[in-house]
Symmetry: C2
Subunit: 271 residues, 2 copies
């Protein structure tokens, strides 16, 4: 599987990289099919927004060209792009001028059980809560210890994802997915202005649903609202949509809007 650093094949990184030192960077995980990166514009837009917020001076045009070339070489799989602030001396102050580093890693598409998409998944209720930090909320940055701790909570393969709440008890997301619910024909997904990762598939599904006349709302959601939802599903940019059928003893049916958006996600990832 290919691995590039700043456009050159390379599997080794300077130990001075601030991505290692401080998690000082961002990443994108991109499905690649037939040499084409899926949802490329949304990935680039989110990356650009994250770089602006972290004051990382990245040339997105270079990233786009590299991603296209890398995807052609990869063919089918997953392209993980990491952008770091580059090398640094000791100390938190960002180097001036900055020289960000682009790291691309290829891997095979994850082999999730087909029943995740078909029958739906069980969610594990994670005890690890997400801290509320508006300055970092929404970004797919490299500070991911909360997800590491949450994912370490369960080993049972019967539970395909974990449900994460914030420290105030709001429902936020899965460990590696965004969460949607359907209530009275309205598509709802948690507000991610305090914590959480604003996924590109989440953004795309919201846009597609709205364009098809589905009423959508992004807002705070508590556990009670989740439990009384008509439909619940998870999404990300690799697997598309998984219906959620259970959280502990609570069960949900797999509903029509979930299936409709699942088809849309599937088309986006395979085309």
């Amino acid at each position: 599987m290919p691995s590039w650093i700043d456009g050159q094949p390379m599997e080794w990184l300077s130990v001075k990289d601030r991505g290692l030192a401080y998690g000082d960077g961002l990443f994108e995980t991109i499905a690649v099919s037939g040499g084409n990166p899926a949802l490329l514009e949304r990935h680039l837009a989110r990356l650009g927004e994250g770089c602006a917020r972290l004051l990382i001076d990245l040339d997105l045009a270079v990233v786009r060209e590299e991603l296209l070339a890398f995807s052609r070489e990869l063919g089918d799989g997953v392209a993980k792009l990491i952008v770091t602030r580059g090398d640094g001396l000791r100390g938190y102050a960002p180097p001036q001028p900055g020289l960000p580093r682009r790291i691309l890693q290829g891997s095979a598409k994850p082999a999730y059980p087909a029943c995740n998409a078909g029958l739906g998944v069980r969610m594990f209720p994670c005890a690890t809560r997400l801290a509320e930090q508006p300055l970092l909320a929404g970004m797919k940055h490299l500070n991911r210890l909360e997800q590491v701790l949450a994912r370490a909570e369960w080993h049972d393969a019967e539970q395909a994802e974990g449900l994460m709440l914030d420290t105030s008890g709001r429902v936020i997301e899965g460990v590696f997915s965004n969460l949607f619910l359907v209530q009275d024909s309205v598509l709802l997904t948690p507000d991610l202005s305090r914590c959480g990762v604003a996924g590109v598939m989440r953004a795309e599904l919201l846009a597609q649903a709205e364009s098809q006349g589905v009423r959508c709302a992004v807002r705070d959601i508590d556990l009670e609202a989740l439990l009384r939802a008509d439909e619940v599903f998870l999404c990300n940019s690799l697997y598309g949509v998984w219906p959620v059928r259970a959280l502990q003893r609570h069960v949900w049916p797999v509903g029509p809007l979930t299936r409709k958006l699942q088809v849309i996600a599937c088309d986006l990832l395979d085309s």
Copy 2:
């Protein structure tokens, strides 16, 4: 300056390292004088505690031997030790069994202006707040974007450190220092059970002060309490103690307990 990975001279790291991918690891920054690492036992103890909390299976005896050998080679300077969970495949789940990686980097002692220790420093009031996350509080882990954002807030060299509050407005620490204040002869330092880094110098100064009969308390401190303190100082394991003389227009005198603990810190770092 030397750089070792797992005990071998090496300046390049696998791009698959989870320290890069997720900030999945911890670090220690250790003053080395005459080939001896200062406060070694406290650094090892904190590292061990962090590894236990992050479920990283590290052999501390190996780390100790490496730190001693590295310090002998370095002579005088700073030994930065990073411990990561090692290489990983894609995905947050920690690899089982884990194979943590030890990275040692040497650098020169930072050249801080002598007046920082002598006259004391001005603190910049950072707008970046620390999120409250008890699961990560106290650890010197690799998820340090809050510190990066805070340190990027000011460029004026007249302000040697930044004051960080948590999202509830409590006074917590400096960007790269712990904070103490003296009020009515009691030595006070913020409780770090929700956020912040529990520094080894902080722990050592608390222990030394208590052993000398100084009344000490670790508790929540608000901005008002900070402003009315008799003395304020910062500490870390590289520079020891800096009196704080100003925060914006507020000024504090440099007091006797600050000077007493500064001498103790100085001895610890130079011996």
